[in-house]
């Protein structure tokens, strides 16, 4: 990846929306890029709305807030309907099909359907890594980072007794295919 990319991730609390953004941010850090991670914070709770913006760039980032994004990850239907218009024409939209019954309306974007919860359950036997299946799909298409970097990210974030989860998360990165 080169230049500047804004990634907007939205869903509900408990889906690991903020974590997808943080993992991307760590990857950017390890790839020696500039990065900002900005959560929408409020009186949030499990089941409430959750979203965050990640900006990754080769040069210094001024605003961590964006009004349009290059990549949108919609983890549920409400987020898809609310944020679809934020995508730039030609942008990449990732739809969590299991929770988005209504199809996207835009015709000028690239749409990728990722049934991340089912893939996590059937292929990996653990629905908790559904968000990492989604991240894997995003990375396969956008090539924001590499699997080598993601391995470093998981090594950095999953330490001690959690280290045993690294192989599962690495498999999640490759579980989806278009």
């Amino acid at each position: 990846m080169s230049g500047k990319k804004a990634i907007f991730i939205a869903g509900f609390g408990g889906q690991g929306v903020l974590l997808i953004g943080q993992m991307l941010s760590y990857a950017a850090l390890f790839d020696d890029k500039e990065v900002t991670w900005m959560p929408a914070y409020g009186p949030e709770m499990r089941g409430g709305t959750a979203n965050c913006t990640v900006v990754i760039s080769d040069t210094a980032i001024s605003s961590p807030l964006v009004t349009e994004c290059d990549v949108l990850i919609a983890m549920n239907g409400a987020s898809l309907a609310k944020f679809e218009d934020m995508l730039v024409p030609g942008g990449e939209l990732f739809v969590n099909t299991g929770l988005c019954p209504e199809p996207p309306k835009r015709k000028d974007i690239n749409i990728h359907y990722v049934d991340c919860t089912n893939i996590a359950e059937e292929k990996l036997g653990n629905t908790k890594v559904a968000n990492m299946v989604m991240l894997g799909a995003v990375n396969q298409i956008t090539k924001i980072t590499t699997l080598e970097t993601m391995f470093k990210v998981f090594e950095y974030t999953l330490k001690g007794p959690k280290a045993k989860l690294i192989p599962l998360n690495m498999r999640a990165m490759e579980a989806w295919s278009e």
């Binding site: 943080q22 990065v35 900002t36 991670w37 900005m38 914070y41 001024s62 605003s63 807030l65």
Partner: protein, 360 residues
């Protein structure tokens, strides 16, 4: 040193510990809760002390005590919590007690909203304290700058024997950026405090006369002496030595933004958007809010600049200081949002065009 990805609030706390802060007192309030959370977890690992106070009044009173004993101490809160601290803060000023306070601003007045705002400008800069009191106020725009300023703030507080406020907003507190935490400083041992802070209350052990720290003056001439001969010269020195700012693209600019903290980042992006449309805008970013960097405004290009625009998340609290600094040299305008709503670069750019359109 290792570059880490950290949340603003956590980085603020880490910077304070590196700077030698060993006493933290605080009461929870969004959006700064990661500061006390980090302190409660990390301070004890370096032999420090964390106390969750029963209120903000207690936090600042703990600060008064710890600072009087010569310790490097810090508290943090947000907007309405800082409002509650004003009485104790005034006592710290008149007693000349060095301390660092982080204000992660949210929207007010009152309990308000937990989203970012910059409407504490008047409270921290003009001082919500009674009497002729000032706090030195820094306004960082990124997590790294906040870390550097906090690290430095403890030295400034000690040098000036005055409270220093780090004024950020919820956006910088909540976001994550790569950051380098400066190396830990050696902490002055308790037995050595009286060498560096001879005024501190650290036990005279019958070797010298008692030190007294007292904010009550039964003799009004003594208080006048304290204000005129101790506080005033310090405030004048601060006005000469402390103002800091960053300016960009002032030469040939049609309009000049003035913005601090997170809003400066939005304004810089708006500046870049406008440049693509052939509209040249510059920016002055105050890094200190008190003392306000008046001299920055002498750098404005008088041949081209038509208007100076304050971009801020308040009803125009900073605009008053901009006007004072400009002394009528340029017309001014305000681009703002309030109540916890952030400006976007596009909105700032559009509203700038409207301001410039209205001037023709």
């Amino acid at each position: 040193m290792e570059k880490k990805l950290m949340k603003g609030n956590e980085a603020f706390a880490a910077a304070a510990i590196s700077a030698g802060c060993r006493y933290y007192f605080g009461y929870p309030i969004t959006p700064q809760n990661e500061v006390p959370e980090y302190m409660s977890r990390e301070l004890r690992n370096v032999g420090g002390h964390f106390i969750q106070a029963e209120s903000e009044l207690a936090s600042i009173s703990f600060i008064y005590g710890a600072a009087a004993a010569g310790a490097r101490c810090m508290t943090s809160s947000s907007s309405i919590g800082i409002a509650l601290m004003q009485e104790g803060l005034g006592s710290c000023v008149v007693c000349e007690l060095p301390c660092v306070i982080i204000n992660v601003m949210r929207a007010g007045p009152g309990i308000g909203a937990i989203q970012p705002a910059q409407a504490d400008y008047t409270q921290v800069v003009k001082s919500g304290m009674n009497g002729d009191a000032h706090c030195i106020v820094y306004a960082p725009t990124s997590i790294q700058e906040a870390v550097n300023m906090i690290y430095h703030a403890f030295d400034v507080a000690d040098e000036y024997r005055n409270p220093v406020i780090i004024c950020v907003d919820g956006m910088i507190g909540q976001m994550m950026e790569p950051v380098i935490i400066p190396e830990s400083r050696a902490v002055i041992e308790e037995k050595d405090i009286e060498k560096t802070k001879p005024w501190a209350l650290c036990g005279h052990r019958n070797r010298r006369d008692r030190n007294k720290i007292n904010s009550v003056f039964l003799n009004q001439y003594e208080l006048e002496d304290r204000i005129m001969n101790r506080l005033l010269p310090k405030f004048e020195k601060a006005k000469k030595e402390l103002p800091e700012w960053e300016s960009r693209n002032l030469e040939g600019a049609e309009a000049v933004f003035v913005a601090y903290g997170s809003t400066a980042r939005i304004a810089i992006e708006a500046m870049e958007l406008l440049e693509k449309e052939g509209i040249k805008v510059g920016i002055i970013r105050p890094k200190t809010l008190w003392p306000f960097p008046d001299a920055a405004f002498d750098e404005i290009d008088s041949k081209t600049t038509k208007v100076v625009i304050s971009v801020e998340l308040s009803l125009g609290q900073m605009l008053e200081d901009i006007r004072l600094a400009l002394e009528g040299r340029y017309p001014t305008a305000l681009i703002n949002r309030v109540g916890g709503i952030l400006l976007s670069p596009v909105e700032v750019a559009e509203r700038t065009k409207a301001v410039l359109g209205g001037m023709k």
